[in-house]
């Protein structure tokens, strides 16, 4: 035996080494993952010269005019006493700024696009949180915003973008008021005469804005999509979406460029669904505007205007100290800054409710797997906008209940991602592979020292098992849990995690003690837990074995039988606390930490916002109100640490980072380690998912492909989170019309629906296309077979069960659920019961009676009489005898 194993081990070691090398060399692409989302979807790139021009000081040598032609102001329009005309100008800084965006077409709400740039001025005074107003105290950042309109002078005024249509979350980012001498924008070389006045921008301010007469004030109002003008001179005069504590955190960012002038950011775009005032949609074009701050160009020798930054390039500004206004992002709207902008035109996809609005036909609802979310979002318009096709609707639901709906004839088809036991049914159900995708462990983790977001994370099954079984204690309250005193408080202080992921901070947090997961039953959880079950380290850990560092499983989960489709919340430990709040609200602490949610999409948005669902925040309205416990705050940029189970489709859409999962290990389960050597970690990529799909075994049209975790473990390059989603439908007894629709759906979904792209009917990123050739060939063939079977509906009937009648045709309206009635009660009523619903034959109501019911009262009354008379009678008899 060992003679056979050794070469294999060697081979796997070599393979693992190769993979590690491959992963290191191709690092950076892990921002998630599968699918060609980056190619052919409107990738954008533009290079332009950006400059800072200062009016020449006494002895000017070069008198080159500004290379960028000021669009709005004509120098001749300047007043004669204006020094601009005759003062020689000096280009003090000129750079070639290149901006690229990975995709810009058919964007959806909250989708993140990756923006990279080079050639910007190196930034200084880096803020921990660059978003919204928190990013204002930086020097030479690149301000990136979303603006309504397109930067094209040939368009009518209303469709052009301008500072007034650019979204900012706070007043401070667009309207400034300062001591007159510090109003550096008034010295802007390119400013119009009006902008050099003491009061500029919107001068007719509403009453609620207090403006000191002597101060220099510039107000950049916000013009909403409906034409309403918000003065933006105080928090109250901002659009409603900019309210304090708005539903979504700010997306606009003052991004940092490194010492080479390079930088990158994942920018989240907002559609009209998230931000109605900004109002970007498929009909209203919008742009991303990047304003690289070079410093304001000045026409005179004003000291404040001409200043350079006071922070060194690459420095941090944790203390949030003041910066030099002329090089800060504060005056991005000032003409010379604004002139340096690069704008990226965007198009938005149809809103999720497009089909409901545009197509009045009744929908045909497919129920089931949330993994299909992003695909069905893009597929639905390709059906409902085509009158030749039906109106496709995907209702998200657990895989199990969706499958039951199909079995009962209440839904024409369901999306599931695993075989279902078909016992106790007379139905024949076909499985058509429709999409290849999967789950991932998404993460939002910041590198320590303000070094940006972590791009890559390695997780093995034992770490996931520790998180899911709530074996991290979270805080000193959790450490009171009997049997877990020695466990680390959170993932990032676990030596095992640190061995696999060196270089992260060791600040313990409650949010890092858990992975946000699903509360509902789902095939994703089955798949994840079978991954844990197939891994010897994780399996032994859950059985109760200590990990090499002495950590032990939470006793409430010890011996938990895996896999499960719904992860239980078993721990009921209520810690004691000296705090009044926790005394008033005693609750199982570990359930508050885990707090699973009911949909994968919610996990994705929690990760996007870095807002853990940990429910341990104490709060009260006032000192006299009782405390209540709620969700903790969003994590601050710079120290974020959060994990969640996401679908690959969501991860790709929202630009979430996904962890690489361990597929093979040559290290013994109980030996300690200090790094990831001997272990193979695989990220979800096209190749790793193809490798997994290659292993799937066809089990016929009436069952899912066989792709167990034990099979996947044999191929270290296969991503263990791979899942195949099937369209399941009856292949016998389905309504003719529905059968035709389902069959057409399967055919369209496996042809047109597998073309990668962002357009209607295309396959979004995060999915592996199912095509005729290659790894997915057998899936494609199986789908075509099942499509034919569904259309034909001629599958031989299964053996009818003794207790059931002939299979009933599906009722006309799926909503009018249970067929007919009272006879369902009657265990004895068998004959002809099924037929009664199908035909108009007269069928008699069956008899049902209960002997107990009939006998009860007579017996009770007889007994009462007998006993009531008998008692006294015995005594009377006794007395009579003794007389």
């Amino acid at each position: 035996m060992s003679a056979i194993v050794r070469p294999r081990e060697l081979a796997s070691l070599v393979l693992a080494g190769l993979l590690v090398v491959l992963m290191v060399t191709t690092d950076g692409g892990s921002a998630s993952a599968v699918g060609p989302a980056s190619g052919g979807e409107g990738a954008f790139s533009k290079t332009r010269t950006i400059t800072r021009v200062l009016a020449a000081t006494p002895a000017p040598e070069e008198t080159s005019p500004s290379p960028t032609d000021p669009t709005d102001d004509d120098p001749t329009a300047e007043p004669t006493d204006d020094p601009t005309d005759d003062t020689p100008q000096d280009v003090v800084d000129s750079r070639q700024f290149t901006l690229t965006v990975d995709h810009t077409l058919n964007l959806r709400g909250r989708e993140r696009v990756k923006i990279d740039w080079s050639g910007a001025h190196p930034s200084g005074a880096r803020a921990a949180n660059p978003y919204g107003e928190n990013g204002l105290n930086q020097e030479y950042p690149v301000v990136i915003m979303q603006c309504r309109g397109i930067d094209d002078p040939s368009l009518p005024e209303a469709q052009r973008l301008k500072p007034e249509t650019c979204w900012t979350s706070t007043r401070q980012q667009r309207s400034q008021s300062t001591d007159a001498v510090l109003g550096v924008w008034r010295h802007d070389l390119k400013a119009t005469k009006a902008d050099r006045e003491l009061k500029s921008g919107l001068t007719d301010l509403p009453k609620e804005c207090v403006d000191t007469k002597s101060d220099a004030t510039h107000t950049t109002p916000f013009v909403a999509a409906n034409g309403k003008v918000y003065a933006a001179c105080s928090a109250d005069t901002m659009p409603p979406e900019a309210a304090v504590g708005a539903a979504l955190p700010p997306a606009e960012v003052s991004a940092y460029s490194d010492a080479d002038g390079k930088g990158s950011v994942n920018f989240e775009v907002r559609s009209s669904a998230e931000n109605e005032s900004l109002g970007c949609s498929d009909k209203v074009p919008c742009s991303i505007v990047a304003v690289p701050i070079m410093g304001i160009s000045c026409y005179d020798d004003n000291y404040d205007c001409r200043r350079e930054g006071r922070f060194e390039a690459g420095s941090s500004n944790f203390a949030n100290e003041g910066v030099v206004p002329a090089v800060s992002p504060l005056y991005w709207w000032s003409a010379s800054n604004w002139d340096n902008r690069v704008s990226v035109p965007l198009t938005f996809g149809l809103p999720p409710d497009a089909c409901a609005v545009l197509d009045k036909r009744p929908p045909t609802a497919f129920y089931g797997s949330e993994l299909m979310n992003q695909a069905s979002l893009q597929w639905a318009p390709a059906y409902c906008l085509n009158q030749q096709r039906f109106k496709f609707q995907h209702n998200r639901m657990g895989d199990d209940p969706a499958f039951v709906l199909v079995e009962n004839g209440q839904a024409p088809a369901a999306f599931v991602s695993g075989a279902r036991e078909a016992e106790s049914t007379t139905e024949r159900i076909g499985y058509a592979p429709t999409a290849v995708t999967g789950f991932a462990v998404g993460f939002t983790i910041d590198e320590p020292g303000n070094a940006g977001e972590r791009q890559q994370l390695n997780l093995n099954a034992r770490l996931i098992a520790k998180l899911l079984t709530q074996s991290y204690t979270g805080s000193s309250r959790g450490q009171q849990h009997p049997g877990m005193e020695a466990n680390p408080m959170s993932l990032n202080v676990d030596p095992e995690f640190n061995a696999l992921n060196p270089g992260l901070d060791r600040i313990q947090r409650e949010a890092a003690a858990t992975v946000l997961s699903l509360s509902e039953s789902s095939d994703v959880i089955s798949s994840l837990t079978s991954y844990l079950n197939a891994d010897p380290e994780a399996k032994q850990f859950i059985k109760g074995a200590r990990d090499p560092w002495g950590m032990v499983v939470n006793p409430s989960y010890k011996g938990l039988k895996l896999p499960v489709s719904e992860f239980p919340l078993r721990d009921t430990f209520v810690p004691t606390s000296g705090l009044e709040c926790y005394q008033q609200n005693p609750a199982p602490y570990f359930s508050q930490l885990a707090a699973p949610v009911n949909s994968i999409t919610k996990i994705a948005s929690a990760l996007l916002d870095a807002w853990p669902n940990v429910q341990t925040k104490c709060d009260r309205a006032s000192a006299s109100d009782p405390f209540k416990v709620g969700r903790i705050d969003r994590q601050g940029v710079g120290t974020r640490f959060m994990l969640g189970i996401v679908s690959l489709g969501d991860a790709d859409r929202y630009g979430l980072r996904t962890a690489s999962l361990q597929t093979a290990s040559s290290v013994g389960p109980s030996s300690p380690f200090i790094d990831g050597s001997g272990r193979t970690f695989v990220a979800p990529t096209t190749s790793s998912i193809s490798a997994a799909v290659k292993l799937a075994k066809d089990k016929g049209s009436r069952s899912a492909f066989q792709m167990t975790q034990d099979m996947l473990r044999k191929q270290p390059a296969a991503y263990p989170g791979t899942m195949i989603v099937y369209t399941t439908a009856k292949i016998r007894g389905l309504d003719k019309e529905d059968a035709a629709k389902v069959s057409a759906f399967i055919k369209i979904a496996t042809s047109e629906g597998q073309v990668p792209g962002s357009g209607n009917g295309k396959l979004p990123g995060g999915f592996l296309p199912i095509v005729k050739t290659g790894a997915t060939a057998k899936l494609w063939a199986s789908a075509q077979r099942v499509a034919t079977l569904v259309a034909a509906q001629k599958e031989a009937a299964a053996k009818p069960e003794a207790t059931k009648g002939a299979p009933k045709p599906a009722p006309a309206a799926p909503a009018a659920a249970p067929v007919d009635a009272p006879q369902d009660d009657a265990p004895a009523a068998a004959a002809g019961e099924g037929a009664a619903t199908a035909t108009d034959d007269i069928v008699a109501t069956s008899a049902q009676s209960s002997g107990a019911a009939g006998a009860l009262f007579p017996v009770l009354i007889a007994l009462a009489l007998l006993a009531g008379l008998g008692g006294p009678a015995t005594r009377v008899v006794h007395l009579w005898r003794n007389r």
Binding site: P401, V404, L405, N408, Q410, A411, P811, A812, A813, P814, A815, A816, A817, P818, V819, D820, A821, P822, Q823, D824, D825, A826, P827, A836, T837, D840, I842, V843, A844, T845, S846, A847, Q848, S849, S850, G851, A852, A853, G854, A855, L856, F857, P858, L860, I861, L863, A864, L865, L866, A867, G868, G870, G871, P872, T874, R875, H878, L879, N882
Partner: protein, 308 residues
């Protein structure tokens, strides 16, 4: 517990503390222990039987009226707040509809679930069918003989009357059909958009029929069009305890517990009677025992067929 009556005194009474307590006067003829046990047992059995009958016919009615009052208030509040359940999986015991037949002066709040215990409060809606008022067939179970006889009114001259159904989705008027007994024709499935409420209860035959409701009978109320949409997500299957004439044995642990407590309370009263005197002991003990007896009998009725 009867044995204790003739058992030995366990706690010695302090001689002077309770001068009011008198020793029992010795009976002229000493009753032998055996006889005493037999006659007392029979008396207790009679009391239990009479109590059971009383509770099913009289006290249960009071209890059911009270429950209906409470449910009506609760449901009214939910309707006003638009929080009345309209679909999905509903907690058993929650009010789901108000059925009223103005022509009969009859009205009942229907709760979710049809197990024996739930039907003590009033008619129950079978959980695997659509709610009353929704397209399809909705099944409502109710008692006809005991506990306020909620569905008795449907069995006598209700045919042709209007049945008003009020739910969280609105109000509809159904027409009540004739009582359907074994052998009668089953009605056809309702047309698309139509709705039927089948009320299921029990009826006896003959002179003592009211005392022996052993046959399941059905009353259909129909609505031809305009029914509300039934949201998906209802249960697909129910337990055996929720079918017609089934009993609910899940109550056994609770019943055993309550009987145990009742026995303990009785023993406690007897002990207290020897110590503190009959008046005091019964003054304190009687409410406790009556309450426990009431509870025990209520729980016992869970074991009876639910439509009784």
């Amino acid at each position: 517990m009867t044995a204790v009556w003739s058992g030995r005194r366990r706690l010695a009474r302090p001689p002077q503390l309770w001068p009011l307590v008198k020793t029992r006067p010795a009976s002229t003829v000493p009753v032998p222990d055996n006889l005493s046990i037999v006659s007392t047992s029979l008396t207790v059995l009679a009391v239990v039987c009479v109590w059971l009958v009383m509770q099913l016919f009289v006290l249960g009615g009071l209890e059911q009226h009270r429950a209906q009052d409470r449910l009506y208030g609760e449901f009214r509040e939910q309707l006003a707040a638009a929080t009345a359940p309209v679909g999905g999986i509903i907690e058993p015991g929650t009010p789901v509809a108000l059925l009223s037949a103005p022509g009969l002066g009859w009205s009942q709040v229907v709760t979710e679930g049809t197990s024996s215990g739930l039907l003590l409060d009033g008619p129950g809606h079978r959980r695997d069918t659509v709610l009353p008022g929704q397209a399809g067939v909705s099944i409502v179970y109710g008692k006809s003989g005991t506990f306020g006889r909620p569905l008795q009114a449907m069995l006598n001259g209700a045919a042709g009357q209007k049945l008003t159904v009020t739910t969280g989705q609105g109000e509809l008027s159904y027409t009540i059909g004739a009582v359907r007994r074994a052998g009668d024709a089953l009605p056809a499935a309702p047309p698309s958009g139509g709705s039927r409420i089948t009320m299921v209860t029990a009826e006896g035959e003959g002179r003592l029929g009211r005392l022996a409701p052993d046959e399941v009978v059905y009353v259909d109320a129909t609505l031809d069009a305009g029914a509300f949409v039934a949201p998906p997500g209802r249960l697909n299957a129910i337990g055996p305890a929720e079918t017609a004439m089934a009993s609910d044995t899940s109550v056994m642990p609770a019943l055993a517990l309550s009987l145990g407590v009742l026995a303990a309370a009785t023993v406690g009263v007897i002990v207290a009677r020897r110590r503190f005197g009959a008046i005091r002991a019964w003054l304190v003990g009687a409410p406790v025992i009556v309450a426990l007896a009431w509870l025990s009998v209520d729980l016992t009725t869970y074991l009876l067929p639910n439509l009784l």
